[in-house]
Each structure stands twice: as C-alpha cells, then as structure tokens.
C-alpha cells in the first residue's frame, strides 16, 4: 500500500490514505482499511500542478475539488499507463509549428477581413454623416490653417478670381456645395483638400507650374478628393482600424502589439494610395468634362518625379553613396509613400489625353500671369550669423515668423 494524501475538497484537512489501482478505478482507503472513495479512471483529471514535485503525482476528479497526492513510483507509472489523460502534455516542435500555422492562417484571415472590409465599410459610414457636419469639421480644420499667412491683397485679386473660375469650371455639375480656395505662403509644392470643400494650394505650387493646364490638373485632382469626401472616408477608415486593433491588442505585452500596430499603419498608407488613385481618375474626368488637356498634369508628374530623383541623388551624394541609376524609387520608398509613383500617374494621364483634339486652355495668358502674381516674391537674404541680431524679424512687410528665413542646418 502506498502512502498518499487525500484532500477531499470539502475541507483543507490533509488525510493520509492508501491507494490501490483496482479494475477501472482508484480505490482510496483510510488508515483503518475502510474504503473512503472510489474514483473511476475516466473521471480522473490532470491538474495544472500535477507534476509540481518530482516523484509525486497529483490527481484530480471531475466535477470535484478533491485532490489526491500519490508518492509511490510504481503506482504512478501504472496509473499513467491506465489513464493516459493523466500523462503530461507532450510539447513538441512539430506541435508548435502546427499551432503557429493555424494561428497564422486565422489571423491572416482576420487581417484580410479588416484590410478589405474597412474600405467597404468606411464609404457607407461617411454617407451617413451629413455634409453639414463635415462642413463644420472642415471649417475648424481650416481655422488651424488660417494661421498660416495667405497670399491675399489687391494685387492677388485678379489671379484668385481666375482660379475660382477655373475651379468652378472643373467642379462636377451635380456638386452643389461651395468650394473655397486659399493660397498659403509655403515654399513646398503642394495642394490639399480639407473636409467641407476647402482647397488649399501653396505658393510653391503656383511657382512650380509652367502653364494653366498643369495647374488645372492639380485642382481637378483635389476636387476629386472633395466630391468623393475622401478626407472623411480616410479618417473613418483610419480611426476604425485603429480602434479595432487597439481593442484587439489591448492586453498584449508590448512587442507583438507594436508589430501589429505597424502592420496596421501600413494598411492605412495603402488605403490612402487607393484614395489617391481614385482622385486621379476623378481629376482626369473633371479635366475632360471641362475640355482641358490631361497632358498638362502628366507633364507636372514628370517634373515632380525628376525633382524627387534629383533630391535623392543629392542626398546620396552628400552621404557619400553612389547615386543609383534607377529612376523609380526603391521598393521601400514606394511602399511608404502615400501617393502612387508619379511616372505611373503620368502614363495614365497621357493615355486619357489621347483621342481628342478640341481641348481648350485652362487659363488665358493674362489669367496665368495674374495667377503667377498672386504671391509676391519674397525678399531673399543670406543667412545671418548666429551671434548677430536681437531676434527681431527684419523682413519688411509680411511679418513672417523667423523660421521662414533660410536656415542652414549642419547635420551631425
């Protein structure tokens, strides 16, 4: 007989017992010999601490809190043979591999569902949001941008009027909400749309375009964003995915959660590119409807790509690397950028431009000149030495913040 301990699950009292494996059950008897309990083998369970102590086996009983601690090696061996569910779970590398594959597949399916499902959901959700709410939201965002000085004033009036006419010409006839265009003082070549029909173009863009058709292409693209309410769709999509992923990984211990978040950001970027491609299509449709030649925007894309390539080459040269011969950005750049590669966009625009010869110019020569005059040229001064000056801005007329002056930054 083996010295075992029984905890009957009713009290914490440790009861020395003797245990025998008999027939299909464990026979548990007290010190005086009378049988205290009989546990059928099939009702035995392996608790989490079954192998806590070497040389001991702890055994539980189904639907009971009772616990039996057996110390007899022979009995343990016999018991493990008779009741295989008591054996320790075998953790093999193959088992790990299988679990990994199953979980990968399931989570891949989940990921795909979010990746393809969220864009489908974001569109209808935005349709529910009334345009008045979007206008209010956009007005608030525009408020923030209004702190950036704009190109305004009597000399800019003619040019701005020309732009407004162009915008009206490009707007789809069934869009009956106002579009407000603003030109801000910023050297970047950029234009973007805010919710509620706000368009913002930069001084840099106006300087970069070489004719009215190019500028019309940019405005047509931004109008595409406006009429499809892309900013709202993107916001809903991003917030939706963020919220989903945040609650899914809420309890995760850090690293794996972080990787998941990164994957989600990538999804967000990809979806933004899909919206950009849609805006390109809308833009071309707007141009064709207004009888404007899409080759203009193609020329702009080409020049932008060339400029970007030059910038990359310059950076490579400064860093001592060989400027790569390729004209396409590397796969990584392509992956990370929110816009599709300019060369591809130019190709699509040129294709769309074929087949018609009755294009009219977007702006007359006078109008284009007026547009170019919207933002007066800045006073360009050489960088001032650090020790001089009392911090006062010495640029007359426009009260630009000190950052607007050229600043030399020596990289470490």
């Amino acid at each position: 007989m083996s010295g075992a301990i029984l905890y009957d699950g009713e009290t914490a009292k440790a009861r020395p017992v003797a245990v025998r494996l008999v027939g299909g059950r464990l026979e548990i008897s007290a010190e005086d010999g009378h049988v205290v309990a009989e546990w059928p083998l099939e009702s035995l369970v392996r608790p989490a601490h079954a192998a806590a102590h070497a040389g001991e086996l702890r055994v539980g009983l189904k639907r009971s809190q009772a616990l039996l601690v057996i110390a007899d090696e022979e009995l343990i061996a016999a018991l493990l043979a008779a009741a295989p569910q008591l054996a320790p779970p075998r953790r093999t590398f193959g088992g790990l591999l299988l679990k990994t594959s199953v979980f990968s597949f399931l989570s891949g399916a989940l990921f795909a569902a979010v990746f393809y499902g969220m864009p489908l959901v974001a569109g209808p959700v935005v349709k529910i949001i009334p345009y008045s709410a979007e206008e209010r939201f956009g007005a608030d965002m525009a408020e923030v941008y209004s702190r950036i000085p704009a190109c305004e004033g009597p000399r800019a009036e003619a040019g701005l009027a020309a732009l407004d006419r162009l915008v009206a010409r490009l707007t789809p006839p069934d869009w009956d909400h106002p579009i407000v265009l603003r030109v801000i003082r910023n050297r970047e070549v950029n234009a973007f749309a805010l919710p509620g029909g706000h368009l913002i173009a930069t001084e840099g863009l106006l300087a970069f375009v070489e004719d009215g058709d190019e500028l019309a292409g940019v405005l047509a693209h931004e109008l595409g964003h406006v009429t499809r309410r892309h900013v709202m769709v993107n916001l809903v999509q991003q917030m939706g995915v963020l919220v989903l992923v945040d609650s899914l990984t809420g309890g995760s211990a850090g690293a794996s959660g972080a990787v998941v978040q990164m994957a989600v950001t990538y999804v967000g970027l990809r979806y933004t590119r899909h919206l950009e491609e849609e805006a390109d299509r809308e833009g071309i449709a707007n141009l064709l409807r207004a009888d404007i030649d899409p080759s203009g925007i193609a020329r702009l894309f080409d020049r932008l790509e060339k400029k970007a390539a030059e910038q990359r080459a310059k950076e490579a040269q400064e860093a001592g690397r060989e400027p790569s011969e390729q004209k396409r950005p590397s796969a990584i750049d392509d992956l990370l950028s929110t816009h599709p590669y300019g060369g591809d966009r130019a190709l699509i625009a040129r294709e769309a431009a074929k087949g018609r010869t009755d294009y009219k110019p977007a702006l007359t020569a006078d109008e284009f000149k007026a547009v170019k005059a919207i933002c007066p040229p800045r006073n360009r001064r050489p960088p001032s030495p650090p020790s001089e000056g009392d911090g006062k801005d010495e640029n007359p007329g426009y009260n630009l913040p000190p950052r607007a002056r050229e600043v030399e930054v020596i990289r470490l």
Binding site: G3, Q65, L96, D140
Partner: protein, 370 residues
C-alpha cells in the same frame, strides 16, 4: 511529503522555486504565437505562465493549483469588447471629431469619459482579481473574492476626486481604504481575510517621503549643475533660430538631460523607501483567522527588483516578461512570513458562486500585470 513543512504552532511557510531558465522556451513560444495570431494567443500564453508560477509556489509544501483556461479569458475578452470597447470606440469617434472645435459640450463629454474610464478601469482590476482568485486552489480549496466590482470602481473614483481636491494628501488614505476593501473581500474557502490598516498610519511617512524625494531631486539638480558650470560645460552660445549641432552643443545637451535623468533617478530611489514601508505595512495589517502576515521588503532590494524588471522587459522587447514575473513572485514569497496560528484543517470549501469570466475589461485596457 506535504506536512513536513508545516511550521510548529500553526503558522504557514511559503516557498517559491520558479526559475527563469525553466521558461525560456515558453517565453519564446508565447512571443512567436502571439505575433502570428495578432496577439489573440495572449490568453493561452498568460494561462501557461500562470500555471508554471502557481505550481512553483508552495504553502506548507503543498503547491498552488491554477485552474484557469485560455478559452475563459478569450470569452471574457469577447464579451468585454461587445459590451464596452465597441461603444467606447463610438464615443472616441464622437470626441475625436468634436475635439477639433473645442465646443463646450465636448469638454463635458471628455470629463465624463475620464470619470467613466476610472470607474470601469478599477472595476476591471477588481473583476480580474476575482477571476484570478477563483481559479487558484490550495489543497483543493478555492480562493475567492466577494463584493461588487462596480461599488469598488465608484469608490475609487470618489477617492481619486478627493486626492485631486487635497492635492495628493489623501493618497495614503485612498491606498489603505482600497487595499482594505479588496483584502476584506478575499477568501480562502470559507475563511475571510481581514485588514485593519489605516491611512493615518501611512500619512506622515508618505508626506515625509514625498518631500524627501522632491528635495533629493532638487539637491541633485543643483549639485550636478554646479559641477557642470565648474567644468565649463554649462553656457555655450546657442541661437534658437540657428541651431548648429557641433560638439559643444551636443555635449551640453547631453549633460543637461543626463543631469535631469540622474536627479529623477535619485529622487525615485528615495521614494523606494516609502514603497517598501508601505508594502510591509499593508501586509502586516492583513490577517487570516489568527494568522497575521509579515513582509520583509527593503528599499534597495525592491528597487533592484523593479528596475531590473524594467530593463529585462525593455531589452528583450517584452519577450522576457515572464522572467520579470518570476523575479517578482520569488521576491514576494521569499520575504513573506506569518505570525500566529491558523487552524488549517477546519477551512471549508467556499460556497461563493464562481465567476464565469472576469478579465475582459482589464485585459482590453492593458491593466493586467500577471
């Protein structure tokens, strides 16, 4: 055998034999599977770690049993998502759009949201604790927790408001009261734990420690800046409009930040004295029947534990989280003792209803520690 370890006189002896090297494979497997499963595996990962930690903990030689299951945690999470996290997402959306305009009603909504989150977060912690206790067994006897999590959450909110209103003076009282509430609702079988600690006992040590920490930080800042100035590193010419990152500037910035960090570290080291004192006090005021607990934490060992854990977790990019948990368990149980006697044999099985789920909220909010 089990009884050999029973202390003469009826006290309890604690043992903890977990080792980090035992679970290296487990830590990696958990990380890998969590990654490929978009962290859904974390419920099973957590369960496996707990099973290991529990069975390596012994009371009078008899190990603890963890009877929880990953599927229970998954279910709890799913329930919490539907009932709480999805509505929360919609509130976030509303607040996110409204915050742009900073309208008055949005501010009220945000304040209400913070209040609700405080209540829910504390409720979640209480419920998670209840789950953990109810799935832990010793000698076949279940631990348990009674009391309402919602009441606990509301109380926590009230105390938080009091802390704010008293500029933090209420904190030791809050600690004592919340700890007491939790512990007086903790059961081993049909035996209830008791707690007779008072905030007042903690108040002066708390106040002195706050002042000492702040003072230490301040003094360190002064001393280190003095040294910097003496070494001539403290005053380069910098024009904020024309920042030039030369060697001198970089050294200066490094010196400044280094000084600030070092001072903060010194301040928090002083604070560890209070933390150890508080831990020991709270343990000393906890009892089970005629048994009183005693903890022997010290400031330096506690600092070593926590700072070490921090680096372990950070340097292994959280793969090493289970190692930190092992260290913590070892620390607590190697320093835990009892005084007095407990009639173990008469402890009966708990009759409380065992909660079905409980960790969903705490898990989703990232409040779980083990």
């Amino acid at each position: 055998m089990a009884e050999d370890a029973t202390q003469a006189g009826g006290g309890l002896v604690f043992g903890q034999t977990a080792r980090a090297r035992d679970i290296v494979g487990l830590a990696f497997a958990n990380f890998l599977l969590s990654l490929v499963s978009l962290t859904v595996y974390r419920f099973w990962a957590r369960t496996r770690v707990r099973r290991y930690l529990w069975r390596k903990t012994t009371i009078d030689g008899e190990p603890l049993d963890y009877a929880g299951r990953g599927s229970e945690l998954l279910l709890s999470f799913a329930g919490a998502t539907v009932v709480f996290f999805i509505p929360l997402a919609f509130v976030n959306l509303y607040v996110g759009f409204g915050a742009q305009s900073m309208q008055e009603e949005t501010l009220y909504v945000i304040a209400a949201a913070y209040a609700v989150m405080t209540v829910v977060g504390n409720f979640g912690v209480y419920a998670a604790r209840g789950y953990l206790l109810s799935r832990s067994r010793w000698r076949g006897i279940r631990f348990g927790q009674s009391g309402s999590g919602i009441a606990y959450g509301l109380l926590a909110l009230l105390y938080l408001v009091l802390c704010v209103l008293t500029l933090g003076l209420f904190v030791p009282y809050m600690t004592a009261r919340l700890t007491g509430r939790k512990r007086r609702n903790t059961w081993l079988g049909d035996r209830r734990f008791d707690f007779d600690g008072k905030g007042g006992d903690l108040f002066w040590p708390y106040l002195l420690s706050v002042l000492a920490s702040v003072g230490a930080t301040f003094v360190a800042l002064q001393v280190l800046f003095g040294l910097l100035t003496a070494a001539g590193l403290a005053t380069p010419e910098i024009d904020p409009d024309n920042v030039v990152f030369d060697r001198e500037t970089v050294l200066f910035l490094a010196a400044v930040y280094g000084t600030m960090i070092a001072s903060l570290m010194l301040g928090s080291l002083v604070w560890y004295f209070y933390r150890a004192f508080e831990m020991n006090y709270l343990a000393g005021r906890t009892s089970l029947g005629g048994l009183r607990f005693r903890l022997k934490a010290t400031a330096l060992s506690l600092a070593w534990l926590e700072i070490g854990n921090f680096f372990i977790i950070v340097l292994t990019l959280t793969i090493g989280l289970p190692f930190a948990q092992v260290r913590t368990m070892r620390y607590v149980f190697h320093r835990l003792e009892t005084e007095g006697a407990l009639d173990i044999d008469s402890i009966g099985q708990g009759r409380e209803r065992v909660p079905f789920v409980g960790e969903g909220i705490a898990d989703g909010l990232g409040l779980l520690q083990i």
